[in-house]
């Protein structure tokens, strides 16, 4: 009995980190925060309020709870360039200073709340999280999607944007997807025919070329061969450049964003969205529709990801094969965002490359899909 137990692989679940990752986190589409009302964001184990100043036109991010008596500013109103607490009308400016207390003779000298450093880019809003309280270094800033701002911005469609709240899982689960070649077949319904990872500095990249599984329908994402060139810039914001074969030698260029922010150690908000670069002859509406179909196609896979995460266990010692990607090296890279800057080790940031031999896996999967299609044809043939 003992001898047998010795051979059993024991899962080490470990514990989610006690701090939240240092880095830029996307909160959503900037436009969605510009309706003149304060918006509540549950993130980093607390609540934030996002509002746009009426005069400065800027988006601001503050701690949601008013330092006076703890009122929730997200339930308040925007007054000028400040957000007013619904409890006693204390006014808070975008820089965190108290801008006024209408009923009080004077504002207390230490009346200051936390203002989060924010950034508007790619028509999205980002906040900087750093447990050490340092400002964001310029080299880790959010990259701009080429052409999305400026005179040629109309070449890109509008964003189709979606969110999924994931309870009972730490956000490391979604980051693991970067290296998980095989799950793209089972969960996202593609044949990953080429798969390579590069981790270098604060960037983790996945290069993938895939074909759609013939037995599943995913809209734009299953129309033909797909090249995907996807990088996490920091711990939570992935820009995925997708090139979709639309026939006749033409390729459609899609940018798929896959990002998240932690709600707490055991839940996170997954967000994803797509834009499409207009092909010659494509109208704005057609481009927007292509973006919508891309996001819809991605939804199938992401919803299945979430179902897996919410039912799986955290595992610190995954058991791997040669066809699995470099999970341990990815987590070593990811660790850099959870330690103080002074404790970031070379091994976390030094370049690492891993190219998977996908041939055996795809041979097995092609045979399985053929079987599925044959069975389906037989069932249709017999009227079953």
């Amino acid at each position: 009995m003992t001898a047998l137990d010795d051979e059993v692989r024991i899962i080490e679940t470990g514990r989610p980190p006690t701090r939240f990752a240092r880095g830029w986190h996307c909160l959503g589409l900037a436009e969605d925060f510009k309706d003149g009302r304060p918006h509540e964001i549950e993130a980093f184990g607390t609540k934030l309020v996002v509002f746009r100043g009426e005069d400065d036109g800027q988006l601001h991010v503050l701690n949601a709870y008013c330092p006076h008596m703890g009122g929730n500013l997200a339930q308040g109103t925007v007054k000028g360039d400040a957000v007013a607490c619904p409890f006693h009308d204390w006014r808070w400016s975008g820089d965190g200073r108290c801008a006024g207390i209408p009923y009080a003779r004077r504002v207390p000298p230490r009346a200051r709340t936390r203002a989060w450093i924010s950034l508007e880019r790619n028509r999205q809003l980002f906040v900087w999280n750093d447990p050490e309280g340092n400002p964001p270094p310029p080299e880790v800033t959010v990259p701009e999607i080429a052409g999305i701002h400026g005179p040629d911005a109309d070449q890109w469609s509008d964003w189709t944007w979606k969110t999924l709240r994931v309870e009972g899982a730490n956000c490391r689960e979604i980051v693991d997807n970067v290296v998980d070649m095989a799950h793209f077949y089972y969960v996202h319904y593609a044949f990953p025919e080429y798969f390579k990872n590069v981790f270098d500095g604060h960037v983790a990249t996945q290069y993938m070329e895939s074909s759609p599984r013939g037995d599943m329908e995913l809209g734009t994402l299953s129309s033909g061969r797909l090249r995907s060139d996807a990088s996490y810039f920091g711990p939570s914001y992935m820009i995925d450049h997708l090139y979709s074969d639309v026939g006749g030698g033409a390729e459609m260029e899609i940018v798929l964003i896959n990002c998240h922010y932690p709600i707490d150690a055991d839940s996170f908000l997954l967000q994803y969205g797509a834009i499409v670069r207009r092909l010659p002859g494509m109208t704005d509406e057609q481009a927007a529709e292509a973006a919508r179909l891309t996001a819809e196609g991605a939804t199938v896979g992401f919803e299945q990801d979430v179902e897996i995460w919410q039912n799986k266990t955290r595992i610190d010692n995954p058991l791997l094969t040669e066809e699995d990607g470099p999970v341990y090296q990815l987590r070593r890279w990811y660790e850099q965002f959870y330690v103080d800057v002074a404790d970031v080790k070379d091994e976390m940031t030094r370049r690492f490359e891993f190219e998977i031999d996908t041939q055996r896996a795809n041979t097995a999967w092609r045979a399985e899909v053929e079987e599925n299609l044959a069975r389906r044809a037989a069932e249709t043939g017999t009227g079953a």
Partner: protein
């Protein structure tokens, strides 16, 4: 993992091959500084993160496989260099 030296610039990396198509490369210094091809491509202060590969290094790795100095071997959990946490932490 075995050390492989780039024939073009002399930079040394650590490599592992599970098959002819599989390649794992661990750089041991700042790629943008030590690799001549990357240096030319990204310029001073640039980042190599979004460069997929170094052609000269890749050719050197292929040659190391051909001349037998880098052997193609199966992943063995627990063996340094293979896909385990123990190997990564080592």
């Amino acid at each position: 993992m075995r050390a492989v030296e780039c024939a073009a610039c002399g930079n040394q990396v650590l490599c592992e091959k599970f098959s002819v198509a599989h390649t794992s490369v661990q750089w041991t210094a700042d790629a943008a500084v030590v690799c001549a091809e990357f240096r030319d491509r990204v310029g001073p202060g640039g980042t190599t993160a979004r460069v997929r590969t170094c052609g000269a290094l890749r050719a050197s790795i292929d040659r190391a496989v051909e001349d037998g100095s880098l052997t193609v071997s199966a992943l063995e959990p627990g063996v340094p260099g293979s896909g385990t946490r123990e190997a990564v932490d080592a």
